[in-house]
């Protein structure tokens, strides 16, 4: 049946075209002759056109960044870029090694990392604690969830003036700002996961007459873990966001302080070193969380395989 159909189609095509390979035909401009149109439609009927993206090239993702750096390098080498606006890659590398050898970069990075880590720690603890309180008891839900949903609508950074008023401009304020942002992210996702526990699993637990503690340990906690990790990853991002902001406020140390100082002296190379440091922190911490997540959710990992 289909054989006769295709034979009928080829019959309508003008002589010469049926033998041409499809690839060549695709490269040709759209046919203008009246006789070519039916042949074109007949050929498309044979093989569907690919609509998805093509085959992946190994390390293809690196092409964009490498090209960007190359353009940067080239334009500063050719003198198109004013070093006061943007230093060249060579200067940045030299500055970075300079900052490392004097210890300035490590010292500031350590201070920044410590702030982020402390904020993350307190934020995660508070977020999980509040989520557990709100997610596992009705009264907890009524007391905790409302205020936190309101807090969610107010960016932590908008609370900065108030927090400076209360806590001053020291480390306490900085860590608190970071922790607030982290806590909200962790809370929202963990709470949603806790309340979204599959009702069928709850039913199973009841039918097996699990005790409350076993139920929490074997059903609720593993069920809520994926949601917690979503919150944790968002929390890590928000920790670095908070870090960058608080380090602009009367800081006397940290990567942000280093960059702020460089701005005063128009040292764009130092600013870029700071940006790269922030980028590495963000990327590395996200990668770390992903590794932990994969370990903790190994049952899921095999599912995606």
């Amino acid at each position: 049946m289909s054989e006769t159909l295709s034979r009928a189609r080829t019959a309508t095509a003008p002589p010469g075209t049926p033998g041409a390979p499809p690839r060549e035909r695709a490269d040709r401009p759209a046919p203008t002759g009246s006789g070519a149109a039916p042949a074109e439609s007949a050929r498309q009927g044979h093989r569907p056109r690919r609509l998805g993206p093509g085959r992946a090239v190994p390390f293809g993702r690196l092409i964009g960044p490498v090209l960007l750096v190359a353009v940067w390098w080239l334009s500063s080498a050719l003198g198109y870029l004013d070093p006061r606006i943007l230093s060249g890659p060579g200067t940045v590398l030299a500055t970075a090694s300079d900052l490392v050898s004097t210890g300035r970069l490590q010292d500031n990075a350590l201070v920044s990392l410590q702030r982020a880590a402390l904020g993350l720690l307190f934020g995660v603890l508070a977020g999980v604690l509040l989520a557990v309180v709100a997610g596992l008891s009705r009264s907890g839900e009524y007391l905790v969830d409302g205020p936190l949903q309101i807090k969610r609508a107010i960016p932590s950074l908008a609370l900065l003036p108030l927090l400076i008023l209360w806590l001053g401009i020291g480390e306490q304020m900085k860590v608190t700002v970071i922790a607030l942002g982290v806590a909200v992210n962790v809370y929202i996702n963990t709470y949603a996961a806790l309340t979204g526990i599959d009702g069928r699993h709850v039913q199973l637990a009841e039918s097996l007459r699990l005790g409350r503690w076993t139920f929490l340990r074997k059903v609720v906690a593993p069920g809520a873990l994926p949601g917690f990790f979503v919150g944790l990853r968002l929390g890590v991002t928000s920790a670095f966001l908070g870090l960058i902001v608080v380090e602009q406020v009367n800081a006397t140390s940290g990567i942000g302080y280093m960059m702020f100082q460089a701005q005063q002296y128009a040292q764009s190379d130092v600013i870029i070193v700071g940006l790269v440091a922030y980028g590495i922190f963000g990327y590395a911490s996200d990668a770390l969380v992903r590794i932990i997540e994969r370990r903790a959710l190994s049952w899921r990992h095999t599912l995606a395989r």
């Binding site: 069928r200 199973l204 637990a205 699990l210 076993t214 074997k218 593993p222 873990l225 049952w299």
Partner: protein, 253 residues
């Protein structure tokens, strides 16, 4: 109304309900059900959707908190419930699923034994999603059995399986039943399944037990046996489906 003579044994009945009523809003889903299922009795519960099968099962398993109703209900201490889906927790390995909530030092050994019994020896460390649908249902059966239930409540346990797997599971369930002798209440909408497996078939209709039929056939049962067909036709008629030659007699137990 629906008391079945059953085997006269000294053991107390596995299920005894009297004037059991369950309501959803104004609607009475179970209407004064009096049911006695003897210890070790294999009973199937048939009924069209909406007839109250699941409500009765949930009432018997004690999972219907918040549902209004009245009446008396007595079930043994050890009751296992199995569901239409295997309901294995995806984050626990098969053995951990089987022994979930089971105390005692020998729990793991007992879990292994139960898995071996359902033909899943060697799969203890697998994740549930690595098992086929039939294997998952067998693991769920192991989870139900390892608790040594006096009463096994099964809510359409084979409903989601393909026809071939279903046949194997029927054989397995009957075999396990004969070895362990719990009372079984199998909820199903498959008349053939009910007649093949159960020694007594109930038909629930609008919240009442309309038919209570003892299946007196030797096991293993052949679906092609004339008497099998007879039981089947009677039950189909009771369910409002008319098999080819309409039998006139209706059971009104």
């Amino acid at each position: 109304m629906a008391t079945h003579p059953g085997p006269l044994t000294a053991a107390p009945p596995a299920i005894r309900t009297s004037r059991l009523v369950r309501r959803f809003g104004e609607r009475e889903v179970l209407r004064e059900i009096d049911l006695t299922v003897g210890a070790g009795e294999f009973t199937a519960l048939l009924g069209r959707s909406g007839s109250g099968k699941s409500t009765l099962l949930r009432a018997l398993s004690g999972l219907d908190h918040g549902v209004r109703g009245s009446g008396e209900l007595a079930v043994p201490e050890r009751v296992s419930l199995s569901f239409q889906d295997s309901r294995l927790l995806p984050w626990l390995r098969v053995l951990d699923n089987v022994v979930l909530g089971l105390g005692g030092r020998r729990a793991e050994d007992r879990g292994r034994e139960a898995l071996a019994e359902v033909g899943l020896a060697g799969r203890e460390r697998s994740w549930p999603h690595e098992l086929s649908g039939g294997e998952q249902q067998r693991a769920a059966l192991a989870r139900a059995l390892v608790r040594e239930p006096e009463l096994l409540l099964a809510d359409e346990p084979f409903g989601a399986l393909d026809a071939l797997t279903r046949i194997k599971m029927h054989g397995l369930l009957r075999e396990l039943y004969e070895r362990h002798r719990p009372a079984v209440l199998l909820v199903t909408h498959d008349v053939d399944e009910a007649v093949e497996l159960a020694d007594r078939v109930l038909v629930l209709e609008e919240g009442r037990i309309a038919v209570d039929l003892a299946v007196d056939l030797p096991t293993p049962r052949s679906r092609r046996a004339p008497r099998f067909q007879e039981y089947r036709d009677r039950l189909l008629t009771a369910l409002g489906v008319h098999p080819e030659p309409v039998p006139s007699e209706k059971n009104d137990a």
